[in-house]
Assembly symmetry: C2
Homo-oligomer: 287 residues x 2
């Protein structure tokens, strides 16, 4: 139970800041403002900002405004990508996080612009984080901003979404699934850990280890999502790991990737007990 308590504690700390950040979104015209707040304030696990804050803590980062702004930026990337993924021209999802998706409430035009506004807000936050950082930590926040921007972009998250949405999956399925899982899911989960390590002052070899751990955690996370989807929901047209390799192989992959991630985390020679518990928890979650 210690893990759940720790998770809730760090989540509450994040959400205290996050909610005041949302309240500070003023001077934005309607219906854009309501549409942005609608998706930002949906219930969520806050997994990515918690990974970021935990990795930062492992490396001894101070609890600064810059740290929390970066955590909010990471949550905004996730939220904008969900709004755009749900659009009729993409996954056409009517529901998200237990309520109607953004475009069902505000219309497609506003949902496109709300997603754009949240993506742009990511960088308002990251440039603020750099501006507010102390002189000695400024370069760390610049590196974090830069690596987040790379992994969020056409070579990262958006590239993964394009292949998932629009590429013919009848050939080279295995390579394409790999590409989608790495970029659509593992890139953001991995960079949350990497950025946390960066702002905590990790060295190159530590960054490499945490990147590999993050990518394995992300890969296992996506396969677990697929397993839960197969159990819970109506089938859709999309190819996924479970459909291609079967449920047994999927469970094995989750277990293997998780074991790898745990080893990589332990090799850091830091107190990674919370991150290890979180990694294990993600592999056996039921939602």
């Amino acid at each position: 139970m210690a893990f759940e308590k720790d998770y809730e504690e760090i989540k509450e700390r994040f959400e205290n800041y996050y909610n005041s950040f949302i309240s500070g979104l003023t001077d934005i015209p309607e219906p854009l403002h309501s549409s942005m707040v609608y998706s930002l304030s949906s219930e969520g696990k806050r997994l990515r900002p918690i990974l970021f804050l935990s990795a930062a803590d492992v490396f001894g980062a101070e609890e600064t405004e810059s740290l929390y702004k970066t955590a909010c930026a990471i949550e905004c990337i996730h939220t904008y990508s969900l709004i755009h993924d749900d659009l009729p021209c993409m996954d056409n999802s009517d529901m998200r996080r237990g309520k109607p998706s953004n475009h069902k409430v505000y219309g497609e035009d506003v949902a496109v612009l709300a997603g754009d506004a949240l993506l742009n807000l990511v960088y308002e936050l990251l440039f603020d984080a750099v501006t507010l950082a102390s002189n000695e930590s400024k370069d760390k926040f610049i590196r974090a901003g830069r690596i987040i921007s790379e992994r969020a972009g056409a070579r990262g998250l958006i590239g993964g979404q394009v292949v998932d949405t629009s590429v013919d999956m009848t050939k080279h399925v295995s390579a394409k699934l790999n590409y989608i899982y790495q970029h659509k899911t593992a890139d953001l989960i991995g960079v949350s850990l990497m950025a946390g390590a960066l702002v905590g002052g990790a060295d190159e070899s530590e960054i490499k280890k945490i990147r590999e751990a993050g990518d394995n955690i992300g890969y296992a996370f996506q396969i677990t999502d697929d397993i839960l989807d197969m159990e819970d929901k109506d089938d859709d047209d999309k190819m996924n790991f479970v459909k291609v390799y079967g449920i047994k192989e999927a469970r094995r992959a989750v277990s293997d990737k998780t074991a790898l991630a745990l080893t990589q985390l332990s090799s850091l020679d830091k107190d990674v007990s919370f991150l290890r518990s979180l990694t294990k928890h993600l592999s056996i979650r039921k939602n």
Copy 2:
């Protein structure tokens, strides 16, 4: 003719860098890559990067990689916003810059993601610009990145687009037109000048003057667009300055705003001859 020659010269210098930047967009999956390149490589005036580079030159900024990356970022903001504005759920435009709009060629899903990818690329470029800047100019590029992110966002460009697209224009037309013109058009034109001045090391009073000049140039630019639209194209449902105030008042507003901008530029006590010529040229342009 000196002005046209100067404009072409600076445009060619920008496009040399810009074209190599486009060629460097590798490791991006298809059809995302083609879709991004399709819109980036469309013919355009390159007005905003040219305003940025000219303002930087007025204040003596060095011709660095950081300078040109920032210029490319500004063009990317403009291009992404056109792709999303043209979507069926927004302005539903089939043509853009003399060729079919992005979604007509690549489909709506890819066009949404290409716009997202270009918006994200803006910040990959701006973080690169900061990273590559010399120690003494790093803070200037951080300030430029920060102000660009503000004006591109929900309180700027995107806010203007929301009001233009989705707000009832039967009441308070004058206030709403003002909001749209300031944010949808003048924000990006104004911040191109401001960011140029910032990276050139302008002081607060100079930034204020160039901001005011930029906003007036942007406002006059949008009304001129409306005048040209009324002459050239089929009418659409959208409210604009010409429909509300008539063509005579529109021409007078262009002339007034342009005169104000020229005075504000001259008050800088710098060599602003190119920027003054450009401002005059924009007010009498035919396309």
